[in-house]
């Protein structure tokens, strides 16, 4: 599965994701013998990283799993309730809808940017791109700006008397104007489109950079075989972008599922519960409502969802 045009780190990251898929596949990254002489001193070098990681990531994660089995308000003593917090999630339409919203956001955060990026890569795969570094600097810009700042800006742009509605009025489409983030039907797609804005440039750059590294000879061969543009895309470009596809999907799907800042700032989950998402619920349930156990269950479920989807993406990429 390692192709010649990927960086070592990229292959490694892809391999690391393969690792999660199943024990049978770990062979791939164990191909080479362990480098270096036996050195006990190695423990000393990895110790600080491991201590930090265990203390502030692994132990809290285990503690989240334990807390998810308790009913606790954060103050009075907790009591064990078994799986009740999870049953509550699956029987509460509001909580369930948060996960539904997260899946809808995947369309806007992951699917749309991926389609846009692949389209561009398909069109430009066979020609060198001039000004690539300038384009990529600009296209990455939305991604590096603080999500809170992005949300503040779009909240203004999409406000009832904001520039978007103003523009609609100016071009005679005033009938379409609406309070985008305050509309029950439009709030979630609006939040989604903010995500599309943040991520499409990243997908464009990653796919285009990947496509530039596909050997021209493959295209010449496809052309000799009489391949049309569509077949060329499916048989040369897409397989050549497999690693980039995994990277883009992992990044964007995770961003969709972990949407906190945008929702917190732009809609606070509203109107009603139209834009509640798991991340926002974890925060709100634990630190505003004070149902710590229930929030831990939500956080754990979100982590499991991220695990499962990332593994599925990786498996897809390694086939």
């Amino acid at each position: 599965m390692t192709t010649t045009h990927v960086t070592p780190a990229q292959t490694e990251l892809a391999a690391a994701r393969v690792l999660r898929v199943g024990a049978g596949r770990t062979q791939r990254i164990r191909g080479s013998p362990p480098p270096g002489e036996p050195r006990r001193i190695g423990y000393l070098y990895v110790l600080p990283a491991l201590v930090l990681y265990v203390a502030f990531v692994l132990a809290p994660f285990v503690h989240t799993a334990i807390l998810s089995l308790y009913s606790w308000d954060g103050v009075t003593p907790a009591h064990f309730v078994g799986l009740r917090n999870f049953r509550d999630i699956f029987s509460n339409p509001v909580l369930l809808s948060a996960f539904e919203h997260a899946f809808i956001l995947i369309i806007f955060y992951a699917a749309l940017p991926t389609v846009i990026g692949l389209l561009l890569a398909g069109i430009m795969a066979r020609s060198p791109v001039r000004g690539m570094s300038l384009f990529s600097t600009v296209l990455f810009l939305p991604y590096v700006i603080a999500p809170t700042a992005v949300a503040v800006v779009w909240r203004w742009a999409l406000a009832p008397d904001g520039p978007l509605n103003q523009l609609l009025h100016d071009v005679g489409l005033g009938g379409l104007a609406k309070p985008w983030l305050g509309d029950f039907n439009w709030a979630l797609p609006s939040v989604g489109l903010i995500g599309t804005w943040v991520l499409y440039g990243l997908a464009m750059v990653l796919f285009l950079a990947g496509a530039q590294k596909i050997p021209r000879s493959l295209y010449d061969a496809a052309r000799i075989d009489g391949a049309g543009p569509v077949w060329e895309f499916l048989s040369v470009t897409l397989p050549g972008l497999r690693n980039e596809l995994v990277v883009v999907l992992v990044l964007t799907v995770t961003a969709a599922l972990r949407n906190f800042d945008t929702v917190y700032v732009a809609t606070s989950g509203g109107p009603g519960t139209a834009t509640t998402v798991p991340s926002y619920l974890v925060y709100n349930t634990a630190f505003v409502v004070g149902s710590v156990g229930a929030a831990a269950a939500l956080g754990l479920l979100l982590a499991v969802l991220i695990f499962v989807l990332n593994s599925a993406i990786t498996r897809l990429g390694s086939q």
Partner: protein, 273 residues
């Protein structure tokens, strides 16, 4: 001929993409520098620039202390995650010791653990150790969340350096630590810079962790100041734009300066828990 048409279509898409990415950013920048504090709809005009608005927001939203807090948290996190990730990556790549594989995969798991699944115990447990409502409460978890990626990233670099370098040093009787510092680190500069840029961007922009860990404190990071300012001044559009610009500016500056390093990391699929 078809190739030329395709290429034009491609440039059209790239240009359109760049314009759509840039236009809102420029719009907000112009708005932040606009004269009128009652500006509402429409695209701000370039003719009435008034930079003093930024100064006004700086005082109004207490951005001075917020920028300082963000700088302290971000630089400390970058420093700590580098200092622990470099030796870990080095040992995982060049030394063999029992349990090395297991420990490495344990660390890798951190690439997948979202902050949402650790933030609750972080708050309630660290409270007992006095690590809440101060810088450490943000810096230590933030560093830990970057360590999985960091060790991984540095290991990939050390694996890619010629084995003969390390072996020659060893034959010359150079110690493992000296080999790292004298031989390998000078070569690792671009790799280290990439990691530093990524951790800088992640940490500066982070909102959930400082929101929770600093909730009872007067310390505010720039994103938190921005959000508080917005909840108090929903109608002060110019002020809001200024606050957004101030919050984003340091990251944009670092990004523009070290753009190549950032892109390299993104192309490799860098993620943080």
């Amino acid at each position: 001929m078809i190739g030329r048409l395709e290429s034009r279509l491609g440039y059209l898409m790239l240009t359109l993409g760049a314009v759509i990415a840039l236009l809102p950013v420029l719009g907000v920048l112009l708005l932040a520098l606009n004269k009128s504090t009652t500006a509402t709809g429409g695209f701000p005009s370039i003719s009435s620039l008034h930079p003093s608005n930024l100064g006004h927001v700086w005082t109004e939203a207490a951005f001075g202390p917020a920028m300082k807090a963000s700088a302290i948290i971000t630089l400390a996190t970058v420093a700590i995650s580098l200092v622990v990730s470099i030796p870990a990556g080095y040992a995982f790549a060049t030394m063999s010791f029992r349990g090395r594989g297991l420990l490495f995969y344990l660390l890798l798991l951190g690439l997948l653990v979202p902050l949402e699944a650790v933030v609750i115990p972080l708050y309630f447990d660290l409270r007992h150790f006095g690590l809440v409502d101060n810088y450490w409460g943000v810096v230590l978890p933030d560093s830990a969340l970057s360590v999985a990626f960091g060790s991984f990233w540095m290991r990939a670099f050390f694996l890619s350096t010629p084995r003969s370098l390390v072996e020659a040093a060893r034959l010359d009787g150079v110690g493992a630590f000296e080999t790292l510092v004298r031989v390998l680190l000078p070569l690792a500069r671009p790799h280290i810079l990439t990691m530093a840029v990524l951790v800088f961007v992640w940490t500066w922009n982070d909102f959930l962790l400082p929101l929770v860990m600093l909730s009872g404190s007067t310390i505010q990071t720039a994103p938190i100041s921005l959000v508080f300012f917005q909840s108090q001044h929903t109608t002060d559009i110019v002020g809001l734009a200024g606050a957004a610009v101030l919050t984003a500016a340091p990251v944009i500056a670092v990004y523009v300066l070290l753009q190549r390093n950032f892109t390299r990391g993104m192309l490799a699929g860098a993620v943080k828990g």
